[in-house]
C-alpha cells in the first residue's frame, strides 16, 4: 500500500533530524548573479527513488525534469514541465510527448521516452525497493511509442498521481543508460542530469552549488548559480536573513507577527497556508486514556487558541482536522469545543474527580515546547498534572514504533506534526488500524476508517471522495484520541531584490526565482 512509502519518508526525515515539514529557504548574493537558497537540511540522496525529504525534492526539481510540475501560485494546479503534451485519455491511460532539445549531461545523449519508462517503472521495481514506491503504486507499465512519446498505463484509476507522483520528486526523469551504468541507483552524484540547472558541487554541511545548464533549450533561468545552504535552526536562518547572509528563508510562525510589524531592512514577508497538521494524540491503550470519557475530557479541556497563541503567537489558525483548507476532504468544523466544565464533569464520571498525572511527549523544538506548556496549563485547570518529556529527533520518531523498544506502551499524550503533499490520502494513511504501532501511535483502531481510506484513494468522483475524507475525520474526533491543533502557517522572508516562485504551501521552485 502507498502508506509504506510515505511513512518511510517521514521516518527518513525524522532520522535526518528534520521536522517533517516542507522547510526550505533561499538567498541572493549582492551581485544578483548567485541565488543563495537555504534548506533546512543537507542533502543525503539525489536519486528520485531514494530521496529523503523536501530539501532534496527542491534540488532535484532543478537538475532533473519531470513530465509535469506544480504551478507556483496560490492554487494547486499542475503544468507541463518537460512534456509538450500530457493527457489523461481514459482513467488508466496517460499519453505524453517530450519537448525537443532535452539532452543529458556527461554524453548520455537525448532524453527519450524510454528514459521516462525507466524512471517510472523503476519506482515500482520490487528489486530496487524504492522508498517512494507508493507514489506510483497504481502504475502497470509505460509503453514507448517512439523516441519522444509514450503512454503511462495504470492498473486502476489513481487520482493522487496528478497531485503527487507526477509532479513531485517521484516524477523526475533520470537517464536509463547512465543509471544502469552505475548499477541501477545512485546517491549524491547523479550520473547524468537534465534540468534548468546542473549540480556543480556539493560541500557537505556547507552548500550545494547548482550552475545554470548551458544546454537548456527552454526559457533560461535568471541566476547563474544557486547555492543551497543547509541551516537547520530556523531562528538561526532568520538571523542570517536579517544580517543579509541569506535573502530568502521560511521563518518560524511565531516570527510572522514581528516580521509583519517591523520587516528587516530590505526584506519582505509572504505568508502561505501550510499543508502540515499538528495534533495532540492520546494513546487509547494507556490508562487512564483507555476510557473514552477521559479522552473526551481532554478534548474539551484544551483551549486550542491559547495553545496556538503560545506556540505561534497567534499566527496560526485552529484546525478542524488533518486535511488543510483548499484540499479535497477539508472539514468545515469540529464536533467538540473547549468546555472545561464538561471536561471536569467527564472526569468525575470516570472516577478521576481528583485528577491524575500523565506525560506529554514532544520533539525538542521551541514551538513544541511552548505548545506543550500551554497544554500543561490547560490540563491543570481540570486537575490533570502533566509532565513534559522532550526528545531529540532520533528518540522522538521511534517513540510509538512497536518494533523499537517499548516506549510505545508508555506514551500517554503526544503532540505531533506531520507534513503532507497536496492529496488527502497523504494525511489519512497514518491513522488506519494497519498503522497501529507504526505511525498510529494513538493505537486508535477503527476498521471503518481503514476501509474508507482504501476506497477514497481510488474514488474518482471528487464530491464523493471529499465526503469520505470528511467522514474519516469525524471518526477520528468521535474516537476521542485526537485534538486537532493547527495546520500551521508558512512565513517566508526574502530580500526585496528577488521575487520568489512559491507553491501554494510556500515550497520554493528555485529555478523560477527572479530578481526583482
Amino acid at each position: 500500500m502507498s502508506g509504506l512509502s510515505r511513512r518511510q519518508i517521514l521516518a527518513a526525515m525524522a532520522a535526518a533530524g528534520f521536522s517533517p515539514a516542507f522547510y526550505s529557504r533561499a538567498a541572493l548574493s549582492a551581485d544578483g548573479k548567485t541565488l543563495k537558497v537555504r534548506s533546512y537540511a543537507d542533502i543525503q540522496n539525489l536519486d528520485p527513488a531514494f530521496r529523503k525529504g523536501a530539501p532534496e525534492d527542491d534540488i532535484m526539481r532543478n537538475i532533473f525534469v519531470g513530465l509535469a510540475d506544480m504551478t507556483p501560485g496560490d492554487v494547486w494546479k499542475w503544468k507541463l514541465d518537460a512534456a509538450s503534451r500530457l493527457e489523461q485519455t481514459d482513467p488508466t491511460h496517460i499519453e505524453f510527448t517530450l519537448m525537443d532539445g532535452l539532452v543529458w549531461t556527461d554524453g548520455h545523449g537525448a532524453v527519450t521516452a524510454d528514459d521516462v519508462k525507466f524512471s517510472f517503472e523503476r519506482m515500482i521495481d520490487p528489486k530496487l525497493d524504492a522508498v517512494y514506491k507508493g507514489d506510483w503504486e497504481a502504475l502497470d507499465h509505460v509503453e514507448v511509442k517512439d523516441e519522444k512519446s509514450g503512454t503511462i498505463v495504470l492498473k486502476a484509476p489513481f487520482p493522487p498521481l496528478w497531485n503527487v507522483g507526477l509532479v513531485f520528486g517521484s516524477g523526475r526523469i533520470v537517464s536509463r543508460k547512465a543509471v544502469e551504468a552505475v548499477g541501477g541507483k545512485f546517491d549524491t552524484k547523479p550520473p547524468a542530469q537534465c534540468g534548468r540547472y546542473l549540480l556543480k558541487e556539493w560541500q557537505p554541511k556547507q552548500r550545494v552549488v547548482l550552475a545554470r545548464n548551458p544546454d537548456w533549450k527552454g526559457e533560461a533561468p535568471q541566476f547563474d548559480e544557486i547555492h543551497v545552504i543547509p541551516i537547520e535552526d530556523e531562528k538561526t536562518a532568520e538571523l542570517a536573513l536579517e544580517a543579509g547572509d541569506i535573502d530568502y528563508t521560511w521563518i518560524a510562525p511565531s516570527s510572522i507577527p514581528r516580521f509583519k510589524q517591523t520587516p528587516p531592512k530590505g526584506g519582505k514577508i509572504a505568508v502561505k497556508p501550510s499543508l502540515a497538521y499538528v495534533w495532540l494524540g492520546m494513546n487509547v491503550e494507556a490508562p487512564p486514556f483507555d476510557k473514552l470519557e477521559v479522552r473526551r475530557a481532554v478534548q474539551q479541556a484544551i483551549d486550542v487558541p491559547s495553545v496556538l497563541d503560545a506556540a505561534y503567537f497567534g499566527a496560526a489558525e485552529p484546525a478542524t482536522g488533518i486535511i488543510a483548507p483548499g484540499l479535497i476532504g477539508h472539514r468545515e468544523k469540529n464536533i467538540y469545543g473547549y468546555n472545561p466544565d464538561a471536561a471536569r464533569e467527564l472526569l468525575n464520571k470516570a472516577g478521576l474527580a481528583s485528577g491524575f498525572e500523565c506525560t506529554i511527549d514532544i520533539l525538542n523544538k521551541t514551538e513544541q515546547v511552548s505548545a506543550a506548556q500551554a497544554v500543561q496549563a490547560n490540563l491543570s485547570e481540570v486537575g490533570i498534572t502533566a509532565t513534559i518529556q522532550q526528545h531529540d529527533s532520533g528518540t522522538f520518531w521511534s517513540l510509538g514504533d512497536q518494533k523499537s523498544g517499548d516506549a510505545w506502551k508508555k506514551i500517554q499524550i503526544i503532540i505531533n506534526r506531520f507534513s503532507m503533499q497536496p492529496d488527502p490520502s497523504f494525511a489519512t494513511d497514518w491513522f488506519t488500524p494497519e498503522q497501529i504501532g507504526v505511525w498510529n501511535w494513538e493505537r486508535w483502531n477503527s476498521p471503518e476508517f481503514g476501509e474508507l481510506n482504501k476506497q477514497a484513494k481510488v474514488e474518482q468522483d471528487e464530491k464523493k471522495r471529499n465526503d469520505m475524507y470528511v467522514r474519516m475525520q469525524d471518526l477520528m474526533e468521535e474516537g476521542g484520541a485526537y485534538v486537532f491543533l493547527t495546520h500551521g502557517v508558512t512565513g517566508i522572508g526574502y530580500s526585496d531584490t528577488i521575487t520568489p516562485a512559491l507553491l501554494p504551501h510556500g515550497g520554493p521552485i528555485f529555478h523560477a526565482f527572479k530578481s526583482a
Binding site: A15, Q206, K403
Partner: protein, 314 residues
C-alpha cells in the same frame, strides 16, 4: 626519553581504544532500533536487514568492537548510513573547519593573552597588573556558549560587523577568516585568561634568572630583554597547557558550531547522535578522541623534554 615516548604513545592508543569501547557499549544501550528510525518500520524486511548488517548492528557488542578496530587498522572507518559515503571522507571534510576554529581560538588567546601576561609581569604589583589579573580570571570563568550567543547578538545581529552563519566561501580565505572571528573568540576567550596568567607567572620566574640579569647588566633595552629573551623561555609551559586544553576547546567548538551554524566535527557528532547515525558517531568520536589524546601526548612529551623529572611518573 625514547622509552618514555613509546610508553606514553602506547598508553594513548589504549586510552583511545577504551573510550571507544565505552562508546560502543553505550550505543548498545541507547533505545530505538536505528534501522527502524532511519528507514521507517515498514521498510521491507530485506532493506532493514541489509541496513543492520551495514551498521554491523546484527552482531553482539564484542564482535562489533573487534570488527570496528579491525577496520580502523586498515584505515576504513565504515560507511555513513544516510549518504552511503565513507565515514573517513565525511569526517575529514569536517575536520579542517574544527581545526581552523581551534587554531583561530589559540590565535585569539595568544594574541591577547601573551601581551597581557607580559604586561602584567613587567608592571608587576601595579593597578594595571591587578586589573589584568581580574580580567584573566573573568575570561576563564565565562562559558563559551554565553560568549557565542552574546557575540552573535551584539556583533552580527545588532552591529552587523560579522557574518551570522557558516564558514565562508571555500575559495575566499579572507571571507573564511571573517567567518572565524566570532566563533573563535567564543572558544578562545577562556584561554586568554589562562595564557595571561601563565605567561605572567613564568615571565616572573624567567626575569629573575641569571642570563636575563646578565642581559640587563649589559644594558640591553628592557623591551628587547622582555620579548627577545624572556618571553621565548616563558612561553614554553603555555604550549603544554594549550595541548592539554584542546579537548576543552573541542567541547566549546560544539557550541560555537551550533550557534553559528558552522560546519565542523562537533556539529557532525551532535547531528549524528541525534539521527542515530552510529558509524559517523564512531568514526568522528574516534578521530576527535585520537586527536585529543595526540595533543595531550605531544604536550606531555614536550613537558618531559623540558623537565626530565616528569619522565619518572607515568
Amino acid at each position: 626519553m625514547l622509552t618514555y615516548t613509546l610508553k606514553r604513545a602506547g598508553l594513548a592508543v589504549i586510552i583511545t581504544a577504551i573510550s571507544l569501547m565505552l562508546l560502543i557499549s553505550m550505543i548498545q544501550l541507547i533505545p530505538g532500533d536505528p534501522a527502524a528510525v532511519l528507514l521507517g518500520p515498514l521498510a521491507s524486511p530485506e532493506m532493514r536487514e541489509m541496513f543492520r548488517q551495514q551498521m554491523g548492528l546484527d552482531q553482539p557488542a564484542v564482535i562489533q568492537i573487534v570488527r570496528f578496530f579491525g577496520r580502523v587498522l586498515t584505515g576504513d572507518l565504515g560507511t555513513d548510513v544516510l549518504t552511503n559515503r565513507s565515514v573517513l571522507v565525511t569526517v575529514m571534510e569536517q575536520l579542517p573547519f574544527t581545526l581552523a576554529l581551534v587554531a583561530a581560538s589559540i590565535g585569539w588567546s595568544a594574541l591577547l593573552g601573551i601581551p597581557l601576561g607580559c604586561f602584567a609581569a613587567i608592571y608587576r604589583g601595579s593597578l594595571a597588573d591587578r586589573i589584568v589579573g581580574i580580567l584573566s580570571v573573568s575570561s576563564i570563568a565565562l562559558p563559551a556558549f554565553v560568549v557565542a550567543v552574546y557575540g552573535l547578538l551584539l556583533f552580527s545581529v545588532r552591529l552587523g560587523w560579522f557574518p551570522t552563519i557558516g564558514a565562508g566561501d571555500s575559495g575566499a580565505p579572507l571571507d573564511q577568516l571573517h567567518h572565524l572571528v566570532l566563533p573563535s573568540l567564543a572558544v578562545g576567550l577562556g584561554w586568554v585568561g589562562y595564557l595571561a596568567r601563565m605567561v605572567r607567572a613564568s615571565m616572573l620566574e624567567v626575569l629573575t634568572e641569571n642570563h636575563i640579569r646578565m642581559a640587563r647588566a649589559f644594558g640591553l633595552p628592557e623591551r628587547t630583554i622582555t620579548y627577545r629573551y624572556a618571553l621565548k623561555i616563558a612561553i614554553i609551559p603555555t604550549v603544554v597547557v594549550l595541548g592539554m586544553g584542546v579537548g576543552n576547546m573541542i567541547s566549546s567548538a560544539v557550541f560555537a558550531e551550533i550557534v553559528f551554524a558552522r560546519p565542523g566535527v562537533g556539529k557532525l557528532i551532535f547531528d549524528a547522535i541525534s539521527t542515530r547515525n552510529y558509524p559517523v558517531v564512531m568514526g568522528a568520536v574516534m578521530i576527535t578522541t585520537g586527536f585529543y589524546v595526540l595533543c595531550t601526548l605531544a604536550a606531555d612529551l614536550i613537558a618531559a623534554g623540558l623537565d626530565p623529572r616528569v619522565r619518572s611518573t607515568l
